[in-house]
Symmetry: D2
Subunit: 120 residues, 4 copies
């Protein structure tokens, strides 16, 4: 492989951050959730993903207002976790390169994006 095809540390950091986001979303999407159980699920999501390599910090906010609105329109008292109920920040450090990433709803789709890359 020629040198210019080799990933930089910043690219590897971004790849690692993406892995964490895909993991978080698809491990936990579908989990039964209610306003009462939201807090324990958010904590478990943070601590689970922080186990992964190069992961410095994970912050999961469950949008309780959105959750309550969904339940008010339903006959059930719980629903399934999906991106609509989440705001997530993940910070990865790979070889001194720090990447900050975020997921939030945009046009009805849970958009994951890189906010900043430092140290390259």
């Amino acid at each position: 492989m020629s040198t210019d095809e080799t990933p930089t540390d910043a690219e590897a950091a971004c790849f690692e951050a993406g892995i964490k986001f895909g993991t978080l979303y698809h491990q936990f999407a579908g989990t039964p959730i209610s306003p009462d159980s939201a807090s324990s699920l958010a904590t478990a999501m943070e601590e689970a993903i922080e186990n992964q390599p190069h992961c410095i910090d994970v912050t999961v906010d469950v949008r309780i207002d959105e959750l309550e609105a969904a339940l008010a329109a339903s006959t059930a008292d719980y629903t399934e976790l999906t991106g609509r109920f989440l705001e997530v920040e993940i910070v990865v450090d790979y070889e001194g390169c720090e990447v900050r990433t975020r997921m939030e709803m945009e046009d009805g789709y849970p958009l994951m994006r890189i906010e900043s890359v430092h140290g390259r």
Copy 2:
């Protein structure tokens, strides 16, 4: 459908208990887990499944000794949740019929079974 094909309340209770076990196992299997994050994951699993209909109580014990043994044999400091690390009890009540169910390892396989059926 003739009467004798209709499920009894006890059968419906057992069906509901099975749903909870399948949900718990396959929602959370694969989650990154370490001794430090085991407690928050166990709590989230309990509270998530207790949201489901007819579910009275869920108790999740992570077998920390088994988890530590797996990590001692590895170069990583976390692993993936699987049945080997779990003991789970789930109690369901359906129309006054109470079913107690349990999962634990047996011959290397996470066996789910009904412990007792009351109220039929």
Copy 3:
């Protein structure tokens, strides 16, 4: 344990059927799905669950019309698998007791129920 708390074969069969439903739903909910990929996912779901003990037959129908309606209301060309897009039948046989179970939408909730119990 007194005899009358011991599960019958029919109750054990219903428990097993519930496990299959919880597994199917929570293993695959959240999977990226489009009209083009629906067929391969349905086949994989059927064959995966048929591996489980006592499982005789699994039939997964993806409701393509519902899927296309969801995509027509969106800017994306795929979505996440959820109960709204599924109709599922699972047949379990436990010690000669056959249980037929079904999941379909009812009042906006993916209701799982026992259709019939034979052989008890």
Copy 4:
């Protein structure tokens, strides 16, 4: 945000590739799998992930020999999907920047890595 913190197209491509890997692994890990059902699951995994944005190609190989070895050591005729049974390649194109990524076992851990970055 100053310009030099903004992700490049190559970094965004690597982030997208990571998302696909985390999704693939944590959506499908835990799925019941046998030699007979491996092929349908591999196809479903490929087609599901190819739905995701910027994803050009996904190739999933189930290591049947490793699967058969695991079953030979067990009393069961199926097991749960985990990284040990998988080799995966994912190609992402983001704004003309192509990233090739791969997962295979290394030291008993399913290592995901970037093989090459083109077009930056």
